[in-house]
Symmetry: C4
Subunit: 273 residues, 4 copies
């Protein structure tokens, strides 16, 4: 039903996604501040660069989602597209099917992002709406996933739900506040948190060193709750470092003092796009 | 208390409503993009067409709600407006009365839509507010409807609540963000989901083939949860196909590249109306 | 602990408050539509009329809240400001104290409304914020009020919480969307609902005719839930009638067709004030 | 696990923080009203004063958070950075670690406020976002803190959660509505409430007079709930007095009548900043 690898793999994916987003948005934000200095040709160049980044992101998401779906179905103990075992009258490996379903929604989000950024057939904000739906469905399936497990097992997965539903909410808010730097960075932080927490779950429930945690000790639960907060600190620090570095590197500090803070903040990615 | 037909009927209504909305909004959205090309007379024509569509929609909603209320009261085993059985001292067929109440609120929403679009006696956004209230009341009545049923029965109806309350929330958001394409399409998708899920409930609880589901098997619950996600994929795909088709059909692709994505997105139905 | 009169009294207050609000806002809305027709002197006159109405509303609220507090303390079985019974070591008539606390917050809301509309010492939106807090506290105290009562008793009071917290939410939204006609009317409807539901609670739990309801019958709960929806229909209809009447009476119908619906809707009370 | 001093100390901190905020924002608000009267040099002076206040606030927050973390670790019974007791195989003084974690997040919020107001490396609203996260984490850790305690103990801490999560929500709203006077004052009130409630918890659970409360008496719970409302009244009154005093003192009353209420309200701290 679960394994160390089964948690480390999605964990790595979310870690990479979170880092990618943190890097992308802090880069765009730094570019925005230099806008007033650049010539028109520079700006057009950065616009097409951004669109290209979005297309790459959408393609990679779509590709890995399809790979994930195929892997869940056809690796060693996958259901190979059989949904119901008629000989023994029960559903066939529902966990693999549930994971496939999660991948499917992230694949849809990737495909939607591709459509939105390569054609004009749909409004721009659809990519965030599909992302919000994908995160919501991930949390929704986890929510009904936990019946009858041990207390600590349930607890570490419930903590996961905080960041998954948090990401869904932030993405949904982005539909209305597109290009809000803070929401984008919050989404990146929560995604890094989700990634590192998947690794933590792997270490707690299926420790590679063989050590077992007492699943009924209340102190373990209190430690794990606190540990979750530390993961959040860690992800916030990573995102902060990325943002500050990309900003300091690129802006001549004397000039910045002349701009009013408010003005800069209200500019959005879309204005460049 | 329930039957296959009793779920297939509202299911069909919601399916039709969802498809209608998806078609209507994708058509309007396509029209908006062509606005810059059309002459003033064309635009005036499209305005009055839209108003006429709204009036038709309101009338049909009102008509079927009244029919629904009458049917619940006067078909074979209806209470025929008797609320209390004095001879045996108990309430008389409360389920029929509850369904009548739901129809009543949708009827009010239809009547309000009629008033809003034919007279000037009320602000435009009232139609969405009444729709939000109608969906909220539907969910509210279902919420207190489930006492003492079997586990699977409760679960499939709880899943229904996700899309019903989702529709209420989206309609309420539309009061403040009227004409937001994404909210309108999300509402259409959730309505299609509600419709197809009613059919699914019918097949699970009152299967016409006579097969019975084990109501206490946890695997059945996990499958049903996942199945709900597939219904959502299905409804999202239908809406997407409708949108993309209506947009590609109508817009000369070369011209589109010249418009900034942001501008087009902010235009709303109301600007044409 | 409760009585028919103890529910009819606050019910009547909320009924009157809801009707007052519905009347006030529909009148203002009608006045707004005639603004373009009136001369400057008419408009100045309507401005000072409105301010006077607000002052009267604030004074009346403050007066009845103080009367309510005094009545809870000093009527026949009130605690007369004694909080703790030292002879028997228990708290003294906590229910009266709780009701006094509720009145206190509504009194604060009235006082704040007076301050806001007679002086310039505070921002305008503070009256809605205090109203939101007053409704929230009412719901909050009811929430921890229900421990250990019979099932039906708990249920009718829980239903009350829906409209109380709904009013708190709508008032809080008005802090940001002040002068939004729909929120104002929704608040009026929910207040009428609260008022008529208090009367309903009185009839169910302390029926003056002496008939007793079976507090454990699930059918009674289902009926009560549905009955709550009918009260909502009733309050929505009253508000609608008031709005439509005040609008039709005052506007020459031919002229209205020339105004775009959107423009009128965005105008707010504050623009006149 | 707890002591009177352990509740009085954070209580005092939050009381001071709340009073500071109430004072700061009412002062700024009064300054804003005088803006039209002042010369450009006065306004530049007030701008740099504000920035200096923000820097002081950030430094003080950071300093006391670090002191708090060190105190939790190294005072008499602190864990001195030992997390796991290997000899007896259990976690070492988790409560101290949890408190350190809370201080850590407030320290981060202070540091972020410093960075935001001294450099241009980050968008202005980040200070509110970090504050929202700090309050959320405080509530989050308390939420999983209460397992297995007595009824009254759980209840007083649950009441605390209302204002903690309230502060998190208000701070998050400020990310989007920065400079909204009402949200700032609401945050100040809730912080004062939190501070005085910590003192109340100390008196209830670890009364210095030695009197013990019956932890299972339902009347005690009802009294405590009501008492919480009185603390809120008290904090609202303090904030109101501060606001009204700073406004009346500074504005020549005749002039105010000439300004439209709406205009003044929409001005924000950021416009001066």
């Amino acid at each position: 039903m679960g394994s160390f690898k089964g948690h480390a793999l999605p964990g790595s994916f979310f870690l990479i996604a979170g880092l990618w987003w943190a890097g992308k948005y802090s880069l765009w934000y730094a570019t925005l501040r230099n806008k007033s200095l650049g010539s028109t040709s520079t700006r057009l160049a950065s616009r097409s660069t951004q669109r290209r980044l979005e297309v790459i992101e959408g393609s990679v998401t779509l590709f890995f989602s399809v790979v994930g779906m195929l892997a869940e179905q056809f690796v060693a103990d996958g259901p190979r597209l059989h949904l119901y075992d008629y000989s023994e009258h029960h559903w066939d490996r529902l966990h693999n099917w549930q994971h496939s379903t999660m991948y499917l929604f992230f694949g849809l989000a990737g495909a939607m992002s591709l459509i939105v950024h390569t054609t004009d057939a749909a409004p721009l904000a659809l990519d965030r709406l599909m992302l919000a739906i994908a995160f919501f469905i991930e949390g929704f399936l986890f929510l009904y996933h936990l019946h009858g497990r041990a207390m600590l097992d349930v607890h570490v997965h419930q903590l996961l739900l905080f960041c998954v539903f948090g990401e869904a909410m932030v993405s949904f808010l982005e539909v209305f506040h597109r290009g809000n730097m803070l929401l984008e960075l919050l989404r990146a932080s929560l995604t890094i948190l989700q990634g590192s927490w998947f690794w933590q779950i792997g270490f707690v429930l299926y420790s590679p060193s063989g050590a077992e945690w007492d699943q009924k000790d209340h102190n373990n639960m209190m430690f794990i709750t606190m540990c979750y907060c530390w993961h959040l600190v860690f992800s916030l620090l990573i995102v902060s470092v990325l943002v500050v570095r990309s900003r300091l590197k690129r802006t001549p500090p004397m000039e910045m003092g002349l701009l009013k803070p408010r003005e800069r903040q209200q500019e959005s990615e879309d204005e460049i796009l």
